[in-house]
């Protein structure tokens, strides 16, 4: 203690010794109109004052940090790191931080809610939180309207702000069909992933490679013409018009007129017509695409780009099942002989692939899926058999 006093005194002496070069008048704005300043006590007080203030604040903050420390589960940070950090709210929480907290703290919150992150994120979150990883099927935005500005009729000329939310204020929009897409690109503007672009004829196009199913566009669309649906459900009636058939026809070339042809043709009873609008029940739809060519107004959209045709492999046992289920009579053959499928008639619906008891029909879009399911089933059966034998 005494030594410190000595050092300070020595320092003061030096400062005082230098005093003759230092100005003898006021030091800046604070000390007004003083003729001279005692430099030594000034420096002393400055050091003491600043030092003590710094100490008080330092101790105070250290105390606060200790006293009010929040025990953060380190897993929350880890989870937050692997999330998409788009703060899109697709998980149903306010932001990524909130979801990370919920998924760590609450065992009932599934780890796969981060749709922008996809399967990889779900897996990583499950690993951190120790939950079972069940990758959610990806969902995409589907524009439920095909009536672009060329194919549809307008009631009046809208010359306002280029935004659907503004256009809809002008008597519900300029389109004759009050259910359809206005085409001013609000969805493209709000998409945080640049997945939506506007076509030349003012219809939004969803890039499924970029779409994460965050539902931002669904919320922003004033016409509610965007639906976020599972990726696998690729055959949809892309129309929301509840007008009577004749009216829809007048308004738009590609609207659903509620004729019911799809209902008749569907082997699985998926579509049903209600309020002059056909709607495909996605829990029943097997994505065969049979309704697509049968729709007189092309209102049904098939999101599977190409449907390769079916062919019969040598596994065929000639059971004639495929000939019975084929909706277009492309399969034919005698009993116990290898069947054939007429390539001109086949539409690649995949119904026979699913129906074949020995997985002898290949080539359709669902073939790999069906084969994998059959193989899994077989493995399960064998495992059960082994268990029974062991018992």
């Amino acid at each position: 203690m005494f030594e410190i006093q000595n050092i300070i005194n020595a320092l003061m002496d030096v400062v005082q010794g230098l005093g003759f070069i230092l100005p003898k008048v006021g030091v800046g704005g604070g000390i007004e109109a003083k003729e001279s300043v005692d430099i030594a006590p000034l420096v002393k007080f400055t050091l003491i004052f600043v030092g003590s203030i710094a100490t008080i604040f330092g101790l105070g903050l250290a105390f606060a940090a200790k006293r009010f420390s929040v025990k953060m589960d380190p897993r929350i940070e880890h989870v937050k790191d692997v999330l998409a950090n788009a703060h899109c709210g697709a998980c149903g929480y306010a932001g990524c931080q909130q979801y990370a907290e919920a998924v760590v703290a609450n065992p009932d919150v599934p780890p796969n809610l981060c749709t922008p992150g996809g399967a990889r994120t779900a897996e990583a979150v499950a690993k951190i939180t120790g939950k079972a990883a069940v990758a959610a099927e990806p969902v995409f935005s589907r524009i439920m309207c095909q009536g672009d500005w060329k194919k549809s009729v307008k009631r009046f000329k809208y010359e306002g702000i280029e935004d659907c939310r503004a256009a809809v204020l002008a008597g519900g929009g300029d389109k004759a069909c009050i259910y359809g897409c206005l085409g001013y690109g609000t969805c493209a503007k709000v998409c945080p992933f640049d997945a939506i672009t506007m076509s030349e004829d003012h219809l939004p196009v969803v890039d499924v490679g970029k779409c994460t199913g965050c539902r931002k566009c669904e919320k922003a669309c004033p016409k509610k013409v965007i639906e976020v649906l599972p990726a696998g459900k690729a055959v949809l009636v892309s129309c929301h018009s509840k007008d009577k058939g004749g009216q829809t026809r007048k308004n738009c070339q590609v609207g659903c007129i509620g004729c019911g042809k799809c209902v008749k043709v569907c082997p699985f009873d998926a579509p049903s017509v209600e309020n002059n609008l056909s709607r495909i029940d996605i829990s029943k739809c097997r994505v065969c695409g049979l309704c697509v060519p049968n729709c007189p107004t092309n209102a049904i959209q098939d999101y599977i780009p190409t449907r390769p045709k079916a062919f019969v492999t040598d596994k065929c046992i000639g059971c004639q099942k495929c000939t019975k289920v084929c909706p277009v009579d492309a399969a034919s053959g005698e009993k116990k002989k290898k069947h054939t499928i007429n390539q001109d008639k086949c539409i690649g619906c995949g119904i026979c692939t699913a129906a074949c008891p020995v997985q002898a029909i290949d080539g359709t879009f669902n073939a790999q899926e069906v084969f994998a399911a059959a193989a899994a089933k077989k493995a399960a059966r064998e495992a059960a058999k082994k268990e029974a034998a062991a018992a």
Binding site: G30, F49, I53, L61, A64, F68, S69
Partner: protein, 197 residues
Amino acid sequence: MEHGFGKLFELFIAASLINNFVFTRFLGLCIFFGVSRKMETAVGMSITFTAVMVISAALSWLIYNYAMIPLDLTFLKIIVFIGVVAAFVQAADTIMRKISPGLYYKLGVYLALIATNCIIIAVPLINAGEGYNFIESMAFGLGSGAGFALALIIMASIREKLELAQVPRPFRGLPIAFVTAALIALAFTGFSGLITL
């Protein structure tokens, strides 16, 4: 007392409208342009900002009048006030996180931004320079906070509309925001002469 209240009211009006920090003194523009893009963040920022402003004005007044004037160290006010505000903001951040996490997520994110704002340092400095008393300092802080809140909310509501407008390409984003701010500043000059002291 009557006279005292009148003075406080004058101070409040002067700080919020006539000498609005953003529009007439052009301070705190960084935050002003940063968080005025959305109404929600603007409101959150305004509330946090006003609260921090009043409390830091009071704290700095206490330190200035009870420590710095007696010690003749008033020339240190800039550096000391910066320290006071920074320490207070940090403490508020820590304590708020513990006591009310809900509020922390709503408003706490703005605290770090506030620590380095120039309005928050300007208010204690003006208080010290003008020799306001304790209550007056707090009224001035409140007025400045309210003025900043007003500026942010006006700007946010305009910018939300601007999002939809067809702005010429070179002006999109920050340039049109600056033009808007300049026009509002022009309008705010209308308040000058509202109170004649």
